[in-house]
């Protein structure tokens, strides 16, 4: 019986270790795959996409809303002394600028109904600054949503979107 104690201990330890390692790694792996898919679909690094209206023919992401305008920007702040300058141009109706880190957390959302929003995104570990958000991870995705439930309002939202900005720039004070 005693000769089984060693293998049994290895079995239990490896089960527990792999169990928690898998849970810890899962969000990052899922987001990595999603980021790769977005890149394949032409979602650029440090620039917003020029979106198409969501229809059965144009949809590519599960459970997209046909009533919303979505513009995406991928970011990578692993390069030293860089930050991201963001601008969500004014829109007459509901709009939001939301930030997702490499573990899929929606770590910030700024609402901008009827007004433009400007903010800077700083790399992890940066000191807090006024008008800036510190990203928990170096990589992630930023998403603008605008309420645009018909073709006419979507065209107007796309026009407003020409004023959006997602650009890498030198970090201030660094």
């Amino acid at each position: 019986m005693r000769r089984w104690i060693g293998p049994l201990a290895v079995l239990l330890l490896s089960a527990a270790g792999v169990h928690f390692a898998a849970l810890e790694l899962a969000p990052g792996v899922i987001m990595d795959r999603a980021m790769a898919k977005l890149a394949e679909r032409g979602v650029g690094l440090h620039r917003f996409t020029a979106p198409q209206r969501i229809t059965p023919q144009s949809q590519s992401v599960v459970r997209s809303s046909p009533d919303l305008y979505y513009a995406l920007c991928r970011y990578d702040l692993s390069v030293p002394d860089k930050a991201l300058a963001l601008r969500m141009a004014a829109w007459r109706d509901y709009q939001s600028l939301s930030f997702f880190d490499a573990r899929t957390d929606n770590f910030a959302t700024l609402r901008g109904t009827g007004e433009a929003v400007e903010v800077r995104l700083l790399p992890p570990g940066s000191a807090p600054e006024e008008g800036a958000i510190v990203s928990p991870t170096a990589r992630g995705v930023i998403l603008i949503r605008r309420l645009a439930p018909d073709a006419e309002s979507f065209a107007a939202a796309a026009k407003a979107g020409e004023g959006d900005r997602c650009a890498i720039e030198a970090a201030r004070g660094g």
Binding site: P7, A22, L23, M31, S65, D67
Partner: protein
Amino acid sequence: MMRRVLAYLAALVLGSAIGLGSALAMAGLWPSRGALAFGDVDVDGWRSDFAIGSEAADPYTRARVARHGLLALAKSEAVYFTRATDDAGRPLREGCRYRLSGGTMPAGWWSVTLYDARSMLADNTDGAASIDASRAGTGPWEALIADHRSTGAAHWISSRNAGTFDLTLRLYMPEPALLAQPSKTLVPPRVERLDCASEAAT
């Protein structure tokens, strides 16, 4: 000696497999489960998971949310409810017509959208995948869910080519009371089955 090494090796492989399988199963990642197979909130058959988008407390919820709620907003900005059955508990399907009805929602903007079993908009060119607050107006509203438009229906959501489908209710800018007490605050839309093609033929 060889048998002993093999025993340890087998224990390591088996332990790793048990660890991986149990982690995926407990987080709802395996075996493959639909987007509806989770949720910590249920209001009259409409299910939601208020942990979506947030840094949830436990690793199981975190992994599950990463799988099913990718790029969805945290609950302070928007909450999402889904249902795949009518008010009598029968699966929603293309061959039947339904009356979707509701009133004012405790949110700044809302919409109800029809998705097929792949979580995609139904493959048709009807341009009628949803109803939202801007079209429904204030007060009570009704929409017909059917595979073709009927005269007399103020609003139509097309189920053409949807097969078995579900409905997602989006509530943007939710009122604090909705987040605190969803069951007491939200009166979700009703989904009443009117008739089915097979019933009409018999």
